[in-house]
Symmetry: C2
Subunit: 285 residues, 2 copies
């Protein structure tokens, strides 16, 4: 049975009860508009825990003033149906006011890892993410929490937060789930027109070219980056970044690295998409 709760105190109590019953709690924090990417996180949570809690909260703290907070897709009914189908135990859907009181003034922030890539394009974004996830961790007390590696930097930042603040929680990064043609699943894909949907493949195609070049022995980060960049540049309306960086520090990679993160953020009309691949580690996108 899937239980829906709306109040933080109820959410805490349900997770406390599960733990008191010797269950290990697995947490899947989401902003809703669930797709197969999210469902893969739920499946992984079920592998690792006895009691799976999904949170659905479009967290205002992580949206910039000019971003898509208001139009972000809200599909609660079908999200709940999906959670039921996948055997989720508990779904937490808080109101904004019950997460952030009028006196709210606490922030968790990560210094270095939040500066490059998304941090340059979306200042304050990661402070919003770490703050809300710290709250969800403290409410749920999970043994493990699942995040998608499409938001690669987010996953690294949350892992760092858990380690730095001694949270007894394993922060698990799950593989990107893609459409058959390579497009990474994203709640924002539904913004795309039919034409934009085709052009969106520019990212996967760029990542694949970099992956193939790596496979053929290319190790120069700048060269690999330019392979990825070309189709993005030609298909997208604007490119925030195509970066080739160290997968752990997110800073400049070694000249001939053993692993390399290629990360992309680009715009099609008013829609912003991100994607990435870790060369030397991930399968072909």
């Amino acid at each position: 049975m899937t239980t829906l709760v709306r109040e933080p105190a109820e959410f805490r109590r349900a997770c406390d009860d599960a733990r008191a019953d010797s269950s290990r709690v697995g947490l899947v924090p989401t902003m809703g508009a669930l797709h197969e990417g999210h469902f893969s996180l739920i499946d992984e949570a079920k592998n690792r825990a006895d009691f799976v809690a999904v949170t659905i909260f479009v967290n205002p703290l992580q949206f910039g003033p000019s971003e898509d907070l208001d139009r972000y897709p809200r599909t609660l009914e079908s999200d709940l149906a999906g959670c039921r189908e996948r055997g989720v135990d508990l779904v937490f859907v808080p109101a904004r006011e019950s997460m952030y009181s009028a006196q709210f003034q606490t922030h968790v922030s990560i210094e270095e890892l939040s500066k490059p890539l998304e941090g340059e394009c979306r200042p304050e974004h990661f402070d919003g993410v770490t703050t809300v996830v710290a709250k969800l961790f403290n409410l749920a007390g999970p043994c493990a929490a699942m995040f998608g590696r499409k938001d690669y930097q987010q996953w690294k930042i949350l892992s760092r937060m858990a380690r730095d603040l001694d949270m007894p929680i394993e922060v698990v990064g799950c593989p990107i789930v893609r459409e058959p043609d390579g497009l990474a699943l994203s709640s924002r894909n539904r913004y795309l027109s039919a034409t934009e949907r085709k052009r969106a493949l520019g990212i996967a195609s760029g990542l694949r070219r970099a992956h193939d070049a790596w496979h053929e022995g290319e190790r120069n980060p700048a060269t690999l980056r330019s392979f990825a960049q070309e189709p993005v540049q030609s298909e997208f309306d604007g490119v925030d970044y195509v970066a080739a960086v160290d997968p752990d520090t997110l800073m400049a990679a070694a000249p001939s690295p053993s692993r390399l993160l290629i990360a992309v953020a680009a715009h099609l009309g008013t829609t912003r998409l991100i994607d990435n691949v870790v060369l030397g580690e991930d399968p072909r996108p």
Copy 2:
């Protein structure tokens, strides 16, 4: 029996074991150099919990570059003896490196409450406090944590942090413990020369004058502040602030408030002392 542990993982395990044994864990975070003020926190923890953990860590993160980190008193042997005598179950004395790895980069910060008073004199101080206390909370998983109200602002900030981040922890502020002549106990009192020790009474004497005036019906914050300020001004070498503010927001008080925080920070030679009273609430200092 009082157990001493040095590694965060051991500390966590000992607290986990206590909780698994149905004990409620009470936490008393300190920087050591324990005095009767700290011991009153331990007593309160014993009232509220079955298992009392004291932490002793001179946290570098909360000291400014020109402050007294290096000369801060370290008296581990007598601290441990005191903990044994008071029936503390667990003492955690970590090394700096096991609290802050080379990659450490996470900070917890409180916006408004950390700005005035100590925040103006000691920028970054409270970020250091909230960050280390968040770590200690996550390691120990206490039901309650005790702090002295001599550090009134710190107590308010940590209460705010726990509430904002949904930490399931009661942050308890315990009454200031004073010498018979009124001087608030502080680890830093041992820095004072005999003459300075006498002049240090200027603070308690100022707080008492404000308290007496309040008792006689005075309600004007500026007037009450000036009563407190006079003896501090005349006895101390430098005054950081004598403030009369709202005890909850730490901002400007109402014109005729029902409670008023008088808070003082001042220097004698190289020693900086703080003290406070909440008029309408606290006994005569």
